[in-house]
C-alpha cells in the first residue's frame, strides 16, 4: 500500500512544505496520461501499462485534481478528433451534388466510400474511448459522479458529435445526410447498396445524442429529412404506378413497398422510424389512390368480385385496413355493387311479371303455362338471390376475414334490394313451398336442412314478415290439405326454424294447423265407426273430413264458396256434421268446397281409371253421370247447376278439358274456356296409368286481384296488431307521450313489419274514439 502511505506522506508534506511539489508531481502524472491517450489514439497501446495509467488517474482524482484531469482529457480528445476530421474525413467527401445526379452508379460507390471512412473513424473512436474509459474508470466513479459531468465515454461521444458529425468547420453533416438519403434512394430503385456501411452510419447517429435535448442525432438530423424525401418519392411512385398498373398489380407493388420499408427499418434504420415511414407509404400509396384503385376499370373491386379473385380481394382488404377510410370505401363500394346486382335480379322478375300480368289482365283466363312461369320466376329470383348470397358469404369468409363490419353492410345491402321487391315475401314462401312439395324428393335430410337454412337467411332480410306469414300460411294450408307435402319432418323443421327467427307468436297458428290435421285424423277414424253404432246405412262413399280451426287457417269464412253438392255427398256431409256436433256442441262447420279432393272411378270405353280430382271437378264430372252418351252440357248449364264461383269453375274446367288428361272434350276446341263452350264426356279417353291425377292449378303466383286482396288482408291484420301493441304498451305505462308511444310501437313490431307512424297515429285515434285510451287531462 505504498500509494496510500505515500499519500499520507504527501499530505504531511503538503501541510509543511506548501503545494508546489505536489503540483509538479500532478503535472507530471497528467503529462504521462495525456501522452498515453495520444498513444492510444495512435493505436500504440501495447506499450502502456494499464496498472500504471490507472494508478495515475486514481492518484489524480484522489488528490482532488479530477477537474484538471477531466478537462485535460477533453482537450486531448478534441484535438485528436479535429485532426481526424481534417485529415481523414474531409478527403473522402463525395463529389459535388450535380455530378452525383448525372453519374449515379459511380457516385453511389463514392458515397459508399465516404461512409466507410466515417465508419472506420467512428469505430476507432469508440474503441479508443472504451480504453480511455477503462483507464479512467476511477475518475468516472468518483469525480464524474460528484461533479455531475458526463462519464468519460459519453463525453467522447459528445465530442465526436460536435467535432466530426456536426463539425463547425467542415460540411461533414450535409455530406453524410446526403449520402445516406441517396443510398436509400438507390436501394428503393432496386440497386444494391452496402447495407452494412449505411447501418454503421445509422448506428453512429443513433448513439450520438444531442447535448441540449438528449435526443439522438438520428432523430434530430436524419429522420426528418428521410421522411421528407420518402414522402416525395412515394408521392411520385404512387402516381406513376396508378397510371401504369391495374389494380391487383398496383396492390402487389404497394405491398412490396411496405415490406421493403419494413425490412429497411429492420436492417439499418431505427425502429422508432417505422410507424412514421409506414404512415407515409400508406398515405401516399393507399389513401391517395383509394378510390382510383377501387374504381379501376376491368381490374378494380367490382371485376374482382365478379371474377371471384379472392386473393386480390384479401390483399385489398389487408392493405386498405391500414388506412382510416379504406374499409369504409371498400364496404360502400361492395354494398353498392350488391345493390346493383340485386336490382338486376329484381328487374328480371318485374319484366317477367309484367308479361305475365298482361296475359292475366286481358281475359282473366291465364293459362297454366303462364302460371308456371310465374312460379318459375319466383323460384329463379330466390335462387339467384341465394346464389348471390352464397357468393358474398364466400367473399366474406375467404377474403374479408369474416369482418363483422363488412357483414353488416352486406346484410344491409341485401335487405335493401330484397325489400325493394314488394313480392319478395311471396317469392320466398313460394320457394319454400316448391321445395317442400317436390324439390326435396330424393334429397337427404341434410340437404333439406341446408336448403331451408338458406331460405331462412333470406327470410331474415324481409321487413314485412307478416306478409310472408300470410303467404306461408296459404301455401302450407294447400300443402296440408292436398297432401302435397313431401315430408312432415321437413315441414316441422321449417316451422321450428321460423320459430327460432321470430318467436312463438309467429308460429302458433302454423302449429295449430298441424294440430288440426292430427285431430282430424283421429276424428275420422272414430267417424268411420259412427254409422255402424247408429245403425244407419253407410254412405256410398268414403268421406274424409279435415276440421280446421278457422282462426288458424287462411280461409275466409264469410266468403266461403258456394257449391251445390250432389245428393249423395250432401247426405254424407250431413252425417258427419251430426257426428261432429254431437261431440262438440256449439261449433259451426262450414264446408270449404274449394279445398277438397276426391277419388272417383270412371269407366271409359277402353279401361277403367281411378281419377284424383278436386271437389269442384268431382261435382262437374258427376253431372255427366246422369247424361246420355254424346250429349253435352253448356258452360252456363254447369255453372247454373253447380253454383261454383266463376273463376274456380273456369280453372277446373280448363284442367279437365284442356290439360294433359282430357276427361272432357269441349266445343269449340281451344286452350281457354269461354262462356259459350259446350262440354262432352270423353269416352275415348286413354291413359297409360291406372290412377291418374288431374293437376289443379294451385299455389301459384297471385294475380293482381289476389295480390290486392292479400295486401288488404295484411293491412287489416296490421291494424289489429298495432292496436294490440298500443294497448299493451299503455297498460304498462299508463301515461306516455305520443312520440314515445309511436317509437315504442315501431320497436315492438319491427320484427314483423315496419309500421308507418301515420298508420300508428290513426290507430291511436281510433282507440281514443272507442274509449280505449284518452288524452291526458290538460293536453290540447
Amino acid at each position: 500500500m505504498s500509494s496510500r502511505r505515500g499519500g499520507q506522506k504527501q499530505s504531511a508534506k503538503k501541510s509543511s512544505r506548501k503545494t508546489s511539489p505536489t503540483e509538479t508531481q500532478n503535472n507530471n502524472t497528467w503529462e504521462r496520461l495525456a501522452q498515453a491517450i495520444r498513444e492510444i489514439h495512435k493505436k500504440n497501446a501495447s506499450v502502456l501499462s494499464f496498472e500504471e495509467l490507472y494508478r495515475n488517474a486514481y492518484n489524480m482524482v484522489l488528490h482532488k485534481n479530477g477537474e484538471k484531469l477531466y478537462s485535460g482529457v477533453k482537450d486531448v480528445i478534441t484535438q485528436h478528433l479535429e485532426e481526424v476530421a481534417l485529415k481523414e474525413v474531409a478527403p473522402a467527401f463525395p463529389v459535388s451534388e450535380t455530378s452525383i445526379v448525372s453519374r449515379r452508379a459511380a457516385s453511389g460507390g463514392n458515397g459508399g466510400n465516404f461512409l466507410k471512412v466515417l465508419k472506420r473513424v467512428w469505430e476507432d473512436h469508440t474503441t479508443c474511448m472504451m480504453m480511455i474509459r477503462d483507464i479512467l474508470m476511477y475518475m468516472d466513479r468518483v469525480y464524474a459522479k460528484s461533479a455531475k459531468v458526463a462519464l468519460v465515454y459519453d463525453l467522447g461521444l459528445e465530442l465526436f458529435c460536435n467535432t466530426i458529425v456536426r463539425s463547425p468547420q467542415l460540411p461533414i453533416q450535409t455530406h453524410l445526410l446526403n449520402v445516406l438519403l441517396q443510398q436509400i434512394r438507390l436501394e428503393r430503385e432496386n440497386e444494391i447498396i452496402d447495407r452494412s456501411a449505411v447501418k454503421a452510419a445509422m448506428n453512429m447517429l443513433l448513439e450520438l445524442t444531442d447535448s441540449t435535448n438528449h435526443e439522438s442525432v438520428y432523430a434530430i438530423d436524419f429522420e426528418g429529412k428521410f421522411l421528407e424525401t420518402s414522402e416525395d418519392f412515394y408521392n411520385l411512385e404512387g402516381q406513376n404506378l396508378v397510371a401504369k398498373c391495374d389494380a391487383p398489380e398496383y396492390m402487389k407493388k404497394v405491398e412490396n413497398r411496405l415490406t421493403e420499408e419494413e425490412q429497411r427499418i429492420r436492417h439499418y434504420l431505427s425502429v422508432t422510424t417505422e410507424p412514421k415511414i409506414r404512415a407515409i407509404v400508406e398515405k401516399q400509396m393507399i389513401s391517395k389512390h383509394l378510390k382510383t384503385v377501387i374504381e379501376m376499370e376491368n381490374s378494380g373491386l367490382i371485376p374482382m368480385l365478379t371474377n371471384e379473385k379472392m386473393d386480390d380481394l384479401a390483399r385489398m382488404y389487408k392493405l386498405f385496413f391500414r388506412v382510416d377510410t379504406g374499409h369504409e370505401e371498400m364496404k360502400s363500394a361492395i354494398s353498392t355493387h350488391i345493390r346493383a346486382l340485386g336490382k338486376i335480379i329484381n328487374e328480371k322478375v318485374t319484366s317477367g311479371a309484367t308479361s305475365l300480368g298482361g296475359g292475366e289482365g286481358g281475359s282473366n283466363t291465364s293459362s297454366a303455362n303462364d302460371k308456371q312461369t310465374g312460379t318459375a320466376v319466383a323460384i329463379r329470383w330466390v335462387q339467384e338471390v341465394l346464389d348471390l348470397k352464397d357468393k358474398f358469404d364466400k367473399v366474406l369468409s375467404q377474403a374479408l376475414n369474416n369482418d363483422k363490419a363488412f357483414q353488416t353492410s352486406f346484410i344491409e345491402a341485401f335487405g335493401s334490394f330484397i325489400n325493394d321487391n314488394s313480392k319478395s315475401p311471396e317469392f320466398i314462401s313460394l320457394f319454400i313451398d316448391e321445395n317442400l312439395k317436390k324439390g326435396l324428393k330424393g334429397k337427404t335430410e341434410d340437404e333439406v336442412d341446408s336448403v331451408l337454412d338458406k331460405t331462412i337467411t333470406l327470410f331474415r332480410f324481409i321487413n314485412e314478415k307478416d306478409v310472408f306469414e300470410r303467404y306461408y300460411k296459404q301455401h302450407l294450408a294447400k300443402r296440408l290439405l292436398f297432401q302435397r307435402s313431401v315430408s312432415d319432418d321437413a315441414e316441422r323443421g321449417m316451422i321450428a326454424k321460423l320459430k327460432i327467427e321470430c318467436g312463438y307468436q309467429f308460429t302458433t297458428k302454423l302449429e295449430g294447423m298441424f294440430n288440426d290435421m292430427r285431430i282430424s285424423a283421429d276424428t275420422m277414424s272414430d267417424f268411420r265407426e259412427y254409422p255402424d253404432k247408429l245403425g244407419i246405412a253407410r254412405p256410398k262413399l268414403d268421406l274424409n273430413v279435415t276440421v280446421l280451426t278457422s282462426t288458424f287457417w287462411p280461409m275466409n269464412l264469410s266468403a266461403s264458396p258456394r257449391c251445390n253438392f250432389p245428393a249423395e255427398i250432401t247426405k254424407a256431409c250431413d252425417t258427419f256434421q251430426r257426428f261432429y256436433l254431437e261431440r262438440h256442441s256449439g261449433r259451426r262447420l262450414t264446408w270449404q268446397s274449394n279445398m277438397g279432393t276426391a277419388d272417383i272411378r270412371a269407366t271409359f270405353k277402353h279401361k277403367k281409371h281411378e281419377i284424383n280430382v278436386s271437389t269442384y271437378q268431382m261435382v262437374i264430372l258427376l253431372m255427366f253421370n246422369d247424361l246420355p252418351e254424346r250429349d253435352s252440357l253448356s258452360y252456363e248449364q254447369i255453372k247454373g247447376e253447380s253454383d261454383i264461383p266463376e273463376a274456380d269453375l273456369k280453372r277446373n274446367l280448363q284442367s279437365l278439358a284442356c290439360a294433359k288428361y282430357r276427361i272432357l272434350t269441349k266445343e269449340p276446341k281451344s286452350k281457354d274456356i269461354n262462356v259459350n263452350d259446350q262440354f262432352f264426356f270423353n269416352n275415348d279417353f286413354v291413359a297409360p296409368l291406372q290412377r291418374i291425377k288431374i293437376q289443379t292449378v294451385a299455389s301459384k303466383v297471385e294475380t293482381e286481384g289476389e295480390r290486392k286482396d292479400t295486401r288488404e288482408k295484411v293491412e287489416e291484420a296490421r291494424k289489429h296488431q298495432i292496436e294490440a301493441a298500443v294497448v299493451r304498451i299503455m297498460k304498462d305505462r299508463k301515461t306516455m307521450e305520443h312520440n314515445n308511444l309511436i317509437a315504442e310501437v315501431v320497436k315492438q313490431l319491427s320484427s314483423r313489419f315496419n309500421p308507418y307512424p301515420g298508420m300508428i297515429k290513426k290507430r291511436i285515434e281510433a282507440l281514443i274514439d272507442r274509449d280505449y285510451l284518452e288524452r291526458a287531462p290538460g293536453d290540447r
Binding site: 500500500m1 500509494s3 496510500r4 501495447s46 502502456l48 494499464f50 490507472y54 494508478r55 474508470m137
Partner: protein, 118 residues
C-alpha cells in the same frame, strides 16, 4: 459409487471443455510477491477485468501479469482470498461464512478494494 464418481469426473471434464482450461493471472505486489489467481475469480474486480480484457491489448493483458505498485503482499493476499471467497459463495445457496479480516488491516484492504473496485 464408482458410477457416481465417474459422473462427477465427467462433469468436471465437461466444464473444462466448455470453458477451456482455467486461466490464471499473475498478480505481483509492490514488494515483489507473486500471487497466481484463477482468472475467473480475479475478474470480479472491475479494474482487473478491464486490465485483462481491454480491446487494445495493453501490456497487462498480453502478459497476463499485473504489477501493483501500490499494494503490498499482505494486503494483496487478503484481496486474493476475497476473490476466491466471492467466487465460491456468490451462487451458493448454503449459509455463507463470514469473511475474516483482522481489524488492523481492514483500512488498507478497503483502500485496495476501492482501487480495484472489488
Amino acid at each position: 459409487m464408482a458410477h457416481a464418481n465417474s459422473d462427477k469426473l465427467n462433469k468436471e471434464t465437461m466444464n473444462e471443455i466448455e470453458h477451456g482450461p482455467p486461466e490464471y493471472v499473475k498478480l505481483v505486489s509492490a514488494d515483489g510477491f507473486t500471487f497466481i489467481v484463477e482468472k475467473n475469480a480475479a475478474v470480479i474486480s472491475q479494474t482487473l477485468k478491464n486490465m485483462l480484457s481491454n480491446p487494445a491489448q495493453l501490456i497487462e493483458s498480453e502478459q497476463n501479469e499485473i504489477y501493483f505498485r501500490g499494494i503490498t503482499a499482505r494486503i494483496l493476499e487478503h484481496v486474493c482470498r476475497y476473490m476466491y471467497y466471492n467466487a465460491r459463495y456468490k451462487d451458493a445457496s448454503t449459509e455463507i461464512p463470514e469473511f475474516v479480516l483482522e481489524p488492523e488491516l481492514a483500512y488498507e484492504v478497503f483502500m485496495a478494494a476501492d482501487f480495484l473496485k472489488v
